[in-house]
Amino acid sequence: MSVAGAWYLGLAAIVFSIGAVGLLVRRNVLIMLMCIELMLNAANLTFVTFARMLNDIGGQVLVLFVLVVAAAEVVVGLGIVVTNYRRRATTTADDLDSLKG
């Protein structure tokens, strides 16, 4: 029997928080996308932990879907980053202020 589920949930909450701080603080779009991956991973860890705690395989199936959605999100997100870099030669979020009045 593994360590109690509460420890996994706490770890997942901390990783989610680190990812959220990074998303809010960092300005590079690529690193912001990586921080989103961190937050998704924390959610995955929570899903697997609840699948074990509640003895329900549904949580693990959902992790598979999160994996697919994360892959699709990264593919489209990086496509946008590349397209934008071609036009403006920057990956800094603060430089994308064309709509600023």
Binding site: I18, G19, V25, L33, V61, D94
Partner: protein
């Protein structure tokens, strides 16, 4: 089984389990902090690999073997490699300036907001009653107790649920992936060449 025994330990973990959890948790946390604090995007991507690997170990520790393999293959093998491709393709693998703070007071505010969120999550996890606790929606995990003698029925059961209960969602993710691939190709494609007479010099410089 009551809620309290579910959330806390139902049986006492052995010391190798504690050791594996502590080591994997340390790897996960160091990698996560590395992603957030690295100045070089390549270092951040490699720290992300570290975190993903630690999470995969935690998946194995919770008898989610198939998901651990999928985690390594999909995340570390595909997603992070895609990140590295883009970083090196754009040539931005240089040190970023993280000292300047464009918005005054944004960082302290971010820390405060996230600290409140973290406190809320932990307080909720400690006090909430999970709705699905007593009734299994899908079915129990076979080979629930990790060990050398436990039946390895978990990936088979995962696949069975995926192709029966969650079949529609599975087909929808297939459609989603196709849409994402088409979108990425459309986005990353070079714009079609325009005629010279309607193409001024600044425009061609931008497109180059």
């Amino acid at each position: 089984v009551t809620h309290a025994t579910l959330l806390l330990a139902s049986t006492r973990p052995t010391w190798p389990d504690i050791l594996v959890f502590a080591a994997a948790a340390a790897v996960v946390l160091v990698g996560a902090l590395g992603v957030v604090t690295s100045r070089n995007p390549v270092h951040a991507a490699l720290s992300l690999v570290m975190t993903l690997f630690g999470v995969a170990v935690l998946f194995i520790e919770q008898s989610a073997d198939f998901l651990a393999a999928a985690q390594i293959i999909v995340y570390a093998g595909a997603i992070v490699v895609l990140f590295l491709f883009v970083i090196m393709f754009l040539g931005i693998d240089r040190t970023l300036d993280t000292e300047v703070e464009p918005l005054a007071g944004q960082r302290p505010l971010a820390f405060v907001v996230v600290a409140i969120t973290l406190g809320g999550i932990i307080a909720m996890a400690a006090t909430a009653h999970w709705v699905t606790g007593a009734h299994q929606v899908v079915g129990p995990i076979q080979g629930h107790v990790a060990g050398p003698n436990s039946p390895a029925g978990e990936p088979a059961q995962l696949g069975k649920q995926l192709f029966t209960t969650y079949l529609f969602a599975f087909e929808a993710t297939a459609a989603l992936l196709v849409i994402a691939v088409v979108g990425a190709v459309v986005l990353a494609r070079r714009p079609p060449t325009v005629h010279a007479d309607e193409d001024d010099s600044t425009d061609s410089e931008l497109r180059a």
